[in-house]
């Protein structure tokens, strides 16, 4: 569901994880998370920070992250090198 800024949660899927993101820097952020922040910062303007937008980094078995994005930001990300897919985080139900 989009918030007041027109943002909603998207999953940015980056595919295979070359090495699990377990080693962390002093501030507790792994190299994989840094890469996610770098990637997202490329489509955000100066008033937004990737760390505020990213909800989760997938870094143990696969590569990707979930972030609150506008549709335009999602579209920009989806055309970038290294991105497999960007899609809204849907809601499913127990069956």
């Amino acid at each position: 569901v989009a918030d007041g800024d027109g943002r909603q949660v998207y999953i940015v899927y980056l595919g295979h994880l070359s090495s699990p993101g377990l080693s962390e820097s002093e501030d507790g952020v792994s190299a994989v998370e840094f890469a996610h922040h770098d990637l997202l910062n490329q489509v955000l303007d100066d008033s937004s920070s990737a760390s505020d937008r990213i909800l989760r980094s997938y870094k143990r078995s696969l590569n990707g992250f979930a972030a609150r994005l506008t549709e335009q930001e999602a579209n920009e990300l989806s055309s970038m090198d290294g991105v497999v897919s960007v899609f809204p985080s849907g809601i499913h139900e127990p069956l």
Partner: protein, 619 residues
């Protein structure tokens, strides 16, 4: 469950095999777990396998439940994996619940409740919440963790009314990476069979499980004042209600708002189908209006629902029969009995609600894969919830009876764990193949009107799956080749696999080329067709095993379809040896919406390895 495993011919785990199962870890992505259930006791269990890397967050684990995490949005801090709904406890106990005696729901479904692999460990990943559903961002986080934690099987009783493209679906992505790490994922086919939806979890690297009935039904009689008896269904453990007045709502709606202020106290309220889609017809309105009982029209007449007050569900025709009596007298009354247990000679029959195929994402892959019990299943429940989930229902039960493809899925998950406990080196595709090719065919009179697009290869048969004789194996490279054939680009697929060698070289291939244990093709209605399915069987039986082939073509398709298999004999000289063959299906396509069914059966004195062949015509 107290009956379904017996119905499947799956005996209780012998004591000596329990330690073997103890090395198997099943990851449950669900609503959490109620750890105080006797189904999750760790009595007699040793410590978790040394390879286990999971954790228990805001949760006290034991040697049965060895991992528990919860996910909701940005952070897991402070979130509890406790199950406050019941669904997750139900599915977890169906997979791996300990054997617990004297279980029942108010005397119904009485017996020894047990899961498939009572010696196995459980790792719980709570991704579904009573308010908010199951968010895909959380689902993918749970897959990310479960794979890294070291689970062997993932059970996923979650879905939607329709499927999504593979790389736009958290569970398809998550289960792909699970498959690459040797973890098999079992999923629900979906509950949209009555609302026009289609099977939802359709990726070929995951098992998709339809729901079917077992040989037990729960029926309830309503005896009208004129002596007519109507047999409906429900789980009604309330005392018999005698000669209560029947009342039809003033505006024909059983919505709480409509019934509020009316004089329904002590009466049996008659609830027609709601006029608006999405309005519940679950007895909550009559309950809040003080009704003594309820009669509800259902489209799922094969299901016995637990209602929050005395009552039953009936078909539309039965409801009309009741209304005819109501309109014929000034003082309509009826008596509602407690639930009786009867047999179900038609079982296994496909559940009305179970989502049918075809597979809308890859038409050349048959989904659902197989069927498992999913109607009126008793299993563990949460003491934080009522059996109906209705906040005005004050009952608490340790075991509840519910239905859904959610209940079918953990039967297959448990069977996968069982097979894995004997064959630790088998790939997910091999385990799926073992389950699919040993399923009991369901092209029976009880399933007239249904096809393999509804029930897949047939009913799960865990004991046979342990020793399938032959399997159809597939690697991540094989799935990538299938994705290439489906039009995914090589650059995208190289990212998914992390290999620059990933290339869509085999131009002209089709999804039907995937070494899948079933064979399906969508064809143009009314046209002649020829489709070929190349397959490779891996010998997992005796070194010198040989198999002959038998082709079974459904009677209605026999005049239109020819199925050729070449070669017609498979001879092996070593374990794990692979031998290839080709199935060619040709003939006249069925009419729009129709299906031609057949099966290829490799057999010898010890094994029958059955692959359904389905040709269908659809837009």
């Amino acid at each position: 469950t107290t009956r379904s495993w017996d119905f499947l011919g799956f005996p209780q785990t012998p004591t000596e095999e329990l330690p073997l199962e103890g090395d198997i870890i099943v990851g449950m992505l669900d609503t959490g777990i109620w750890p105080d259930s006797p189904s999750f006791s760790d009595d007699g269990f040793g410590p978790p396998p040394s390879r286990w890397k999971g954790v228990c967050q805001n949760f006290t684990c034991n040697n049965k439940i060895i991992g528990a995490r919860a996910y909701r949005g940005r952070s897991s801090d402070g979130l509890s994996p406790l199950d406050d709904e019941g669904h997750g406890s139900h599915t977890a106990s169906t997979v791996a619940g300990r054997a617990v005696g004297n279980v029942s729901f108010g005397g119904l479904a009485a017996g020894v409740a047990r899961g498939a692999v009572p010696g196995a460990r459980l790792a719980v990943y709570k991704v579904c919440w009573s308010r908010g559903g199951c968010g895909e961002a959380d689902i993918l986080a749970a897959f990310d963790d479960a794979i890294a934690d070291g689970v062997d099987v993932i059970s996923f009783s979650i879905g939607s009314p329709m499927p999504w493209q593979y790389f736009e679906s958290a569970q398809a992505i998550g289960s792909f990476h699970a498959m690459r790490r040797g973890v098999v994922t079992s999923t629900s086919a979906g509950n949209s069979g009555l609302t026009g939806g289609r099977v939802c979890n359709v990726a070929p690297w995951m098992l998709s499980v339809a729901a079917s009935s077992i040989d037990r039904r729960f029926v309830v009689k309503i005896v009208l004042g004129n002596g007519e008896t109507i047999v409906g269904a429900s789980i009604n453990t309330f005392p018999t209600l005698t000669n209560a007045t029947l009342a039809f709502p003033a505006n024909g709606s059983c919505d709480p708002d409509n019934l509020a202020g009316g004089s329904y106290k002590g009466k049996i309220v008659l609830c027609p189908p709601p006029a608006k889609i999405g309005h519940p017809n679950d007895g909550s309105g009559p309950l809040s209006a003080g009704a003594a009982a309820v009669v509800i029209v259902t489209r799922a007449s094969d299901v016995a629902f637990v209602l929050p007050l005395p009552g039953l569900t009936v078909t539309r025709d039965q409801f009309d029969q009741i209304m005819a009596y109501v309109n014929s007298t000034s003082n309509p009354v009826a008596t509602i009995d407690r639930t009786e247990t009867t047999g179900n000679p038609q079982a296994p029959a496909a559940a009305s609600f179970s989502s049918p195929g075809p597979n809308l994402i890859t038409p050349g892959i048959l989904k659902p894969d197989l069927s498992a019990p999913g109607i009126d299943i008793i299993a563990a429940w949460s003491m934080l919830s009522s059996p109906t989930g209705n906040p005005s229902d004050n009952r608490k039960v340790q075991y509840n009876i519910i239905s859904g493809t959610s209940m079918a899925c953990p039967h297959a998950s448990g069977a996968a764990a069982y097979v894995k406990s004997f064959h630790r080196d088998w790939s997910p595709a091999m385990i799926m193949s073992a389950l699919i090719t040993t399923a009991t065919p369901m092209n029976t009179p009880g399933n007239s009107g249904w096809t393999a697009l509804k029930y897949g290869a047939g009913q799960l048969s865990p004991v046979k799956a342990r020793d399938p004789g032959l399997v159809y194996d597939a690697s991540d490279g094989d799935y990538v080749a299938m994705l290439c054939a489906q039009g995914y680009n090589a650059t995208q697929l190289a990212l998914v696999t992390g290999s620059n060698a990933t290339a869509c070289a085999a131009a002209g291939g089709s999804a039907g080329d995937l070494n899948y244990p079933t064979m399906a093709a969508r064809v143009e209605p009314g046209r002649n067709f020829t489709v070929r399915f190349p397959r490779t069987a891996t010998n997992v039986g005796a070194a010198g095993a040989a198999y002959d082939v038998k082709v079974e073509v459904a009677l209605e398709a026999a005049k239109d379809v020819t199925v050729d298999v070449s070669p017609r004999r498979l001879e092996f000289t070593a374990p794990s040896q692979k031998v290839s063959f080709t199935v060619t299906v040709s003939g006249a396509a069925p009419a729009e919406g129709q299906v031609h069914s057949a099966a290829v059966l490799w057999y010898n004195d010890e094994h029958q390895v059955r692959s359904p062949v389905v040709v269908y015509a659809a837009e």
